[in-house]
């Protein structure tokens, strides 16, 4: 009886003792062919396309980066009315910029994330501080250099992204952003009437796990001033899984080299810009002055896993000045659309020489 009790006890406890350490593979022999014909029990198996393809650089939940431009020359016109294409012979202000740089914080958190619908909300905070030397020009409240040297330029923005798969192959992608950009101090931000809105809507296809493309329209400030342009997304990975592209034209385009699942190299360009309201500057027409900063950055970026979901990136390249012009806008914050054919005059025609730059960051990446 005693032995029987012990046997029953041991058998009864089998589920407890059988807890193994986490094992990765099933050791027993199994006929996997029996699963070939396994079908859904309720007859439904709706497949939706994934927002990603193989081997893309990882999407980021949280990102902390430092951006730094090396020395370059800055030449600024006086305020006035300048037609498109005007060239300036005698600049009103000039300076050598020792460095431009600052912190770039970014967060993008999923609110709803399922295979049928993805909605992310995010925020970004960018600082651009200027270090000037050899400043020439008037030292008064009409000076742009004086006004941006005090607080630098700041952007605080909110954004929302929606990915809606329509079926196994097709999807819709919508993005919306509101940015408050200017030379304001952090403890005294400018009014919300100076918010600038961007949005994109794309329809696309994901024919397989290595290709995804989409076309659409965007309202953007990436060249500094408001514009509406067609947009093309083309993400592709070669069959070898070692090369690919990550393109969202015209905003950015990169060729990707994947070394393995934990490191990659991107080479290409990005168009990076904002419209900054310059508060405190004196304008002849009692209107607001907005600095239309647009940069074309040719760069290489190396990304690598540091540990788990923490990745690091280092980026280096050449910053070409696309626009540093300025416009007058209304006191109530209303902006205007010039586009490619508009004839509105500029308030300032400014030139920046090119500069080498680098950017280092650390990121929490998404599953």
């Amino acid at each position: 009886m005693k032995n029987l009790t012990l046997l029953i006890f041991l058998l009864g406890c089998t589920p407890l003792f059988a807890q193994t350490d986490s094992v990765n593979t099933s050791q027993e022999e199994e006929d996997f062919s029996m699963y070939e014909n396994a079908t859904p029990t309720d007859g439904k198996n709706i497949t939706f396309c994934n927002p990603k393809i193989f081997d893309l650089s990882p999407a980021r939940f949280v990102s902390i980066a430092w951006d730094h431009q090396l020395p370059y020359e800055m030449n600024l016109s006086s305020q006035g009315d300048y037609a498109k294409g005007t060239s300036i012979n005698n600049y009103n202000e000039s300076a050598k910029v020792n460095s431009t740089g600052g912190l770039r914080l970014f967060a993008n958190i999923p609110v709803i994330s399922s295979n049928k619908f993805l909605w992310q909300l995010g925020g970004n905070f960018w600082r651009t501080n200027y270090s000037f030397a050899d400043v020439k020009g008037p030292i008064n409240d009409t000076s742009l250099i004086q006004n941006i040297s005090k607080n630098g330029l700041t952007t605080f923005g909110l954004n929302s992204t929606v990915f809606k798969p329509l079926n196994e192959k097709q999807f819709l992608l919508a993005q919306f952003a509101a940015d408050l950009s200017g030379n304001y101090a952090l403890d005294n931000p400018q009014g919300l009437r100076f918010l600038r809105y961007s949005a994109s809507l794309l329809w696309g296809k994901r024919p397989n796990d290595r290709k995804q493309w989409a076309v659409g329209l965007t309202r953007t400030y990436r060249t500094g001033e408001l514009n509406y342009v067609p947009i093309l997304l083309f993400n592709w990975t070669a069959p070898s899984r070692t090369w690919g592209t990550e393109i969202l034209f015209p905003a950015r385009a990169h060729v990707r080299k994947n070394f393995n699942a934990r490191s990659l190299l991107l080479g290409g360009y990005e168009l990076d810009g904002q419209s900054y309201r310059i508060g405190g500057i004196s304008t002849a027409s009692n209107r607001e002055l907005e600095l239309r900063r647009g940069e074309l950055r040719f760069r290489m970026e190396y990304q690598r896993q540091i540990s788990g979901f923490i990745w690091g990136s280092i980026q280096a390249g050449y910053r070409y000045n696309f626009s540093y012009r300025a416009d007058y806008t209304e006191k109530d914050g209303t902006d205007f659309f010039r586009g490619f054919v508009g004839k509105q005059q500029y308030a300032m025609i400014n030139e920046l020489s090119g500069a080498l730059y680098f950017n280092v960051g650390i990121h929490l990446v998404s599953p």
Partner: protein
């Protein structure tokens, strides 16, 4: 005295049998063959001890297009695991039934990038699972819907 001890032991055994088997019946509803929404794999969930594990039993694309050999876990951060076949690989591990149609304390492995995520499984109905992989907090994650499969006799 000896007889009393034996009876007590038998009673304890019965209680343990009851706790060991009966209370986990609800959790065993997870056992079966399931398909992720991508349709690229089939996963068999089974019970080992008191925990639930899911292994890949079918792949839509079983061979590596570059080598034409069966796919292996080539992205695993542990180099010694990179030659292990994906078919038979346990991608769901260590799940415990927590009641209310929920299994937790487990992990899910993504062979595409070699990452392991914390994971929670919710059974929406007997044929549907919501599998949420996340990093640290559940807000930082993604949910996939899996459907139960039935094995048809040939």
């Amino acid at each position: 005295m000896m007889k009393m001890t034996t009876k007590l032991c038998s009673l304890l055994v019965l209680i343990m049998l009851f706790l060991g088997f009966t209370s986990n019946d609800e959790g065993d509803r997870l056992i079966g063959v399931w398909q992720p929404s991508s349709g690229k794999a089939k996963v068999k969930i089974e019970k080992i001890g008191t925990k639930y594990y899911g292994k890949i039993v079918w792949l839509k694309e079983p061979n590596d297009p570059n080598t034409q050999k069966p796919k292996v876990d080539k992205n695993n951060p542990d180099e010694s695991m990179r030659n292990v076949p994906l078919k038979g690989y346990r991608m769901l591990k260590d799940f415990v039934y927590g009641g209310k149609d929920q299994w937790n304390e487990g992990t899910i492995y993504d062979p595409e990038n070699g990452s392991t995520y914390s994971c929670e499984i919710n059974m929406k109905d007997k044929s549907t699972l919501e599998i949420r992989g996340y990093i640290g907090v559940k807000a930082l994650g993604r949910t996939d819907v899996w459907k139960r499969l039935e094995i048809k006799a040939n």
